[in-house]
């Protein structure tokens, strides 16, 4: 069977034009998807490291159990914990996120997403300055200048440039790449940089100074600057500001190069300010390059459910938000979390080593279709259907545009949403013991 216009569940681009071919054995083709996307869509079979049965760790070994046993064990762990952490959420649908918030309320947990180790600083920057954004279609139809800062879409978001940004065509951009100026600012010459019209290499950790210099030049105060800013000649920066000002519609995309270098949220604050200030001269927008396909969605769901987009502590019964205190890594670094439920993420691969060590010391429940390094330190492992391939539901693209993920094949396992609901119901049946 052929299914048209399937939404890809790999990255924040949410390409929705994938042609998926299935037969009795499952998905056999994902036409139109990039290599990252097709490996995700095609990687659903048992040969791809799928977990087949729920497991509970006994005497150091994971032993297969029935689902209900795993649900009850998970509920008991969360209920007995004083400071449970519900973490992950980037690779599942919003319907599961909503259940996650309900579970956090039920057991008084801290709920946090993988944004905490990627675009968390961007969120804090937005709290300071707001964000001048647009949907990706605006970029496609209007942008004649594109600036990639600290991101490498050619490798991390392979279809971004063709579908939405530098190489796309639209109403006011009929010439596509030819009619656009593409600039890359990064600490190394990435593949994206090699495709650009202009590449400006900056020293690691100098983003804040460079953006500040651009803002000074834009404000007409170039004379304050010395001849060089962090190794870049002033003339080069003055030229750059001139190019930005002359654009008809400019778009800045930024990645972890900006959020995770020295300055972190201050870098973002500075970049958001630059964008706002450029609007006094021409039209400009800015967008974070979100990684996992629905990491934007968990932020949206948490915001409408509890008022804040990440790192929310429900232990007092009311949402409390203070990243730096209530983010997953903060909690684990202080050895405060005494149990964790990890869903749709792999912190054992992505957290700093000392934080992973803290995670290894506490009971961990994992909900995931696949085995991954987090499985090695999990005490309860609950396999789920793959959201976006085997389960339908909502995901938010990097620009905030929501799409409905399709169910392409029938799942064998329950969905994240169903699992979370079962755990919550099991937790409700347990008496309050603290």
């Amino acid at each position: 069977m052929i299914q048209e216009d399937v939404v890809c569940s790999f990255c924040g681009c949410l390409c929705d034009d994938i042609r998926v071919e299935t037969n009795d054995e499952g998905i056999v083709k994902a036409k139109g998807a990039c290599r990252l996307g097709s490996s995700k869509i095609l990687g659903h079979g048992p040969g791809h490291g799928r977990i087949s049965k729920p497991m509970i760790r006994q005497d150091g070994e994971l032993v297969e159990v029935e689902y209900q046993v795993a649900y009850d064990r998970a509920a008991r762990i969360l209920k007995a914990a004083k400071r449970p952490l519900l973490y992950g959420w980037a690779s599942t649908v919003c319907e599961a996120h909503e259940e996650g918030v309900l579970l956090a309320e039920e057991v008084g947990a801290v709920i946090d997403s993988t944004a905490t180790v990627c675009h968390g600083p961007s969120v804090i920057g937005v709290e300071e300055k707001g964000l001048a954004g647009a949907t990706l279609g605006q970029v496609k139809n209007r942008a004649d200048l594109i600036l990639f800062w600290g991101c490498n879409p050619a490798e991390a978001h392979p279809r971004h440039m063709r579908r939405y940004s530098s190489n796309s065509t639209g109403r006011f951009t009929p010439e596509g790449r030819k009619g656009r100026t593409v600039i890359v600012i990064d600490v190394r010459e990435t593949r994206t940089a090699r495709l650009a019209d202009r590449f400006i290499r900056i020293d690691p950790g100098t983003d804040y100074q460079v953006i500040s210099a651009l803002r000074l030049i834009l404000a007409g105060k170039a004379e304050i600057l010395g001849d060089e800013v962090c190794g870049i000649s002033k003339g080069k920066l003055v030229d750059l500001v001139d190019i930005l000002k002359k654009a008809r519609f400019g778009a800045i995309f930024f990645g972890l190069g900006l959020t995770h270098s020295r300055g972190r949220y201050k870098n973002i604050d500075c970049a958001l300010s630059l964008t706002a200030e450029l609007n006094a001269h021409t039209k400009f927008m800015i967008m974070p390059m979100r990684g996992h396909y629905n990491v934007a969605g968990i932020g949206q769901v948490m915001a409408w459910e509890g008022g804040y987009p990440m790192s929310v502590d429900y232990s007092r019964g009311a949402p409390y938000f203070n990243p730096g205190e209530t983010a997953a890594c903060d909690l684990l670094a202080r050895r405060e979390a005494d149990a964790a439920l990890i869903i749709a993420a792999d912190p054992a691969s992505n957290f700093p080593r000392s934080i992973v060590e803290a995670l290894a010391e506490i009971p961990v429940i994992q909900i995931d279709p696949y085995e991954n390094p987090t499985t090695l330190l999990a005490d309860v492992v609950i396999p789920c259907a793959i959201a976006g391939v085997e389960v339908e539901g909502t995901a938010y693209r990097m620009d905030g545009l929501p799409l409905r993920m399709r169910k392409v094949i029938e799942p064998v396992h329950p969905s994240d949403e169903e699992i979370l609901k079962e755990i919550r119901e099991s937790a409700r049946r347990l008496p309050d013991d603290h």
Binding site: E105, A280, P319, R404
Partner: protein, 563 residues
């Protein structure tokens, strides 16, 4: 359920302060009923409150929440009883929106603006709001297809697009915000007036408004066009308001209602040439409304204190942010709209804010017919909806207004007429502005009244209108309206003395309008091209799927209904 012996105000049915019983059977008002009895003796009984214009769901709301963790902290309430935790004051979480409206006696609230392509988000949030019945108005004012149909003077095709857009967004009515301006803002400019052509599209705001109004009536939609004027928020803009209203005099409503609803009129009733000589032109606007019957408005009253402005008027928000040195979010939406969010504070010491405050009240007090003026704060643009009781007290009490004016700059008396207005609105007029009129303006036949067959939505307030004089006791009025003794939704008590007692899932109204097949076929050809060339998503993924409305109510409309 029987509500016994209350003092009932049901102006839609000519009931003004009669002591009578209200029976609710199977969720609707009935001649007789069994079941529990509520003793409402000595209490004010009204139909459930209806808010026809409030920002309660969608991308703008979340943009506000995310950029305002400071606002989140205000209004924090822990999980308690049936209630999930709450946060926020001007941008509360979805649960808080439902509980707080219900506590005030409101049972129906319409989201004021949803862009079609992001309507899935709007419906996700609407579904997350407990208790209330709701709907969403769909944005059409800067839409490429709309402007092309207007340019081609193809009314049947435009009507087909409006019908399709309402279906795609599961929207209820046609919202128009700064028509043409959203498209111009795509390249950082704006339209300056009704006859200033939209760049690249060669149509004017006047043409967009007029043709959308014609399409609206051709489709016999339950609601009229819902219009946010051009030049909103600018000194001297009252002339744009009157010019636009004149433009719509020839529109013949297809149903028993207005031809145009003008939203948050306060922001469009400004005189002066700049902020220094800024003054109220509410008397001119009210005078126009007193002489003409084709339009209604809502107040857009401002409340001193914190607000979060959010609108599809992108250039306006940019101007707000520049003027006030505030943080600024902007979100332009491909082929359809712009939008922005800016937090701000209305300050008593500011002459401009004081005049804005006066204008909202003047509009309501100088317009003779309360059916033409709905009570709103354009939540949360003028202030949060939880302040409606304060607005009611101000409208009902000259004394209350004088107390407030004493705290405001003296300049106010030169720039407005608020001090000279003696009128105090009565219980019946408040019932019209918060119940009967919003339901009528929206075309919701079973809302806003207590006749047999109406929805069993009732609010009961612990105040005896026969004994309390609101003019001299405004504090009693404000307190009573802040917390209903009982709020009843479809025959179920949902709030009692401020405690949430039931959390039913509300319904979502949307308009299902039919158009002739040949019109739809012509439209599809041009839409297909748009999706192939310009949209960043596929047409098959565009429409809001049925999964997003758990309790939909499709209101039938369309060309056939009109004939």
């Amino acid at each position: 359920m029987i509500i016994k012996g209350g003092v009932v105000y049901d102006p839609a049915n000519g009931v003004l302060g009669e002591e009578m019983d209200i029976c609710i059977d199977a969720g609707a008002v009935a001649e007789a009923a069994g079941g529990p009895t509520i003793d409402a003796r000595g209490m004010l009984v009204l139909p459930g409150g209806v808010d026809a214009h409030s920002h309660i769901a969608g991308p703008k709301l979340n943009a506000g929440r995310i950029m305002r963790p400071d606002d989140g902290r205000i209004g924090t309430e822990p999980r308690r009883g049936l209630c999930r935790p709450c946060t926020g004051y001007t941008v509360p979480n979805s649960s808080a929106i439902g509980y707080r409206y219900a506590r005030m006696g409101y049972t129906t609230v319409f989201e004021a603006a949803t862009p079609i392509i992001e309507s899935r988000h709007t419906h996700e949030e609407l579904e997350a709001i407990p208790i209330l019945d709701k709907g969403a108005l769909t944005l059409f004012g800067s839409n490429w297809t709309v402007m092309e149909c207007v340019g081609e003077k193809d009314l049947p095709k435009l009507s087909a697009y409006v019908a399709w857009g309402l279906r795609a967004s599961r929207g209820y009515g046609v919202k128009i915000v700064n028509p043409g301006g959203g498209e111009a803002w795509g390249f950082g400019s704006n339209v300056k007036g009704l006859h200033d052509p939209v760049p690249e599209f060669n149509v004017t705001p006047a043409e967009i408004i007029h043709e959308l109004a014609r399409a609206n009536e051709r489709l016999c939609l339950p609601h009229s066009i819902h219009l946010h004027f051009n030049n909103l928020g600018k000194p001297g803009n009252y002339s744009t308001a009157i010019e636009t209203l004149d433009l719509l005099k020839d529109i013949v409503p297809s149903r028993d209602r207005q031809a145009v609803h003008v939203t948050h009129m306060q922001f469009s009733a400004y005189g002066g040439t700049g902020w220094r000589d800024f003054e109220s032109k509410a008397p001119e606007i009210a005078d126009y409304y007193n002489k003409n019957d084709h339009a209604t408005m809502d107040m857009g009253q401002i409340i001193f204190g914190s607000a979060t402005t959010m609108t599809a008027d992108g250039p306006l928000e940019y101007a707000n942010a520049r003027l006030l040195h505030q943080k600024w979010s902007n979100h332009d939406i491909e082929l359809e709209e712009s939008s922005g969010v800016v937090p701000l504070v209305y300050i008593r010491g500011s002459p401009v804010n004081a005049v804005q405050w006066a204008i909202g009240l003047e509009l309501a007090l100088l317009t003779e017919d309360p059916w033409k003026v709905l009570l709103t704060t354009d939540n949360p643009n003028g202030g949060p909806f939880v302040k409606y009781p304060e607005v009611i007290a101000l409208l009902m009490s000259h004394k209350r207004r004088e107390e407030e004016m004493a705290k405001l700059p003296e300049l106010l008396s030169k720039r407005s007429v608020i001090g000279s207005i003696e009128r105090e609105l009565g219980w019946g007029e408040i019932a019209v502005m918060t119940r009967a009129a919003p339901a009528h303006v929206l075309g919701l036949k079973e809302k806003g009244h207590l006749g047999v067959g109406a929805d069993g939505d009732v609010s009961i307030y612990e105040i005896d209108p026969r004994e309390v004089d609101p003019g001299s006791d405004p504090a009693l009025v404000e307190r009573a309206f802040t917390q209903a003794k009982y709020t009843i939704k479809a025959g179920e008590v949902v709030s009692r003395d401020g405690e949430i007692a039931g959390i039913p899932q509300g319904r979502t109204f949307w308009t299902d309008a039919n158009v002739p097949e040949e019109d739809m076929a012509r439209l599809m050809a041009s839409l297909k091209e748009k999706f192939e060339k310009y949209y960043s998503i596929q047409m098959s993924n565009y429409m809001v799927q049925e999964a997003y409305l758990s309790r939909p109510v499709a209101v039938r409309a369309g060309v056939e209904v009109a004939q």
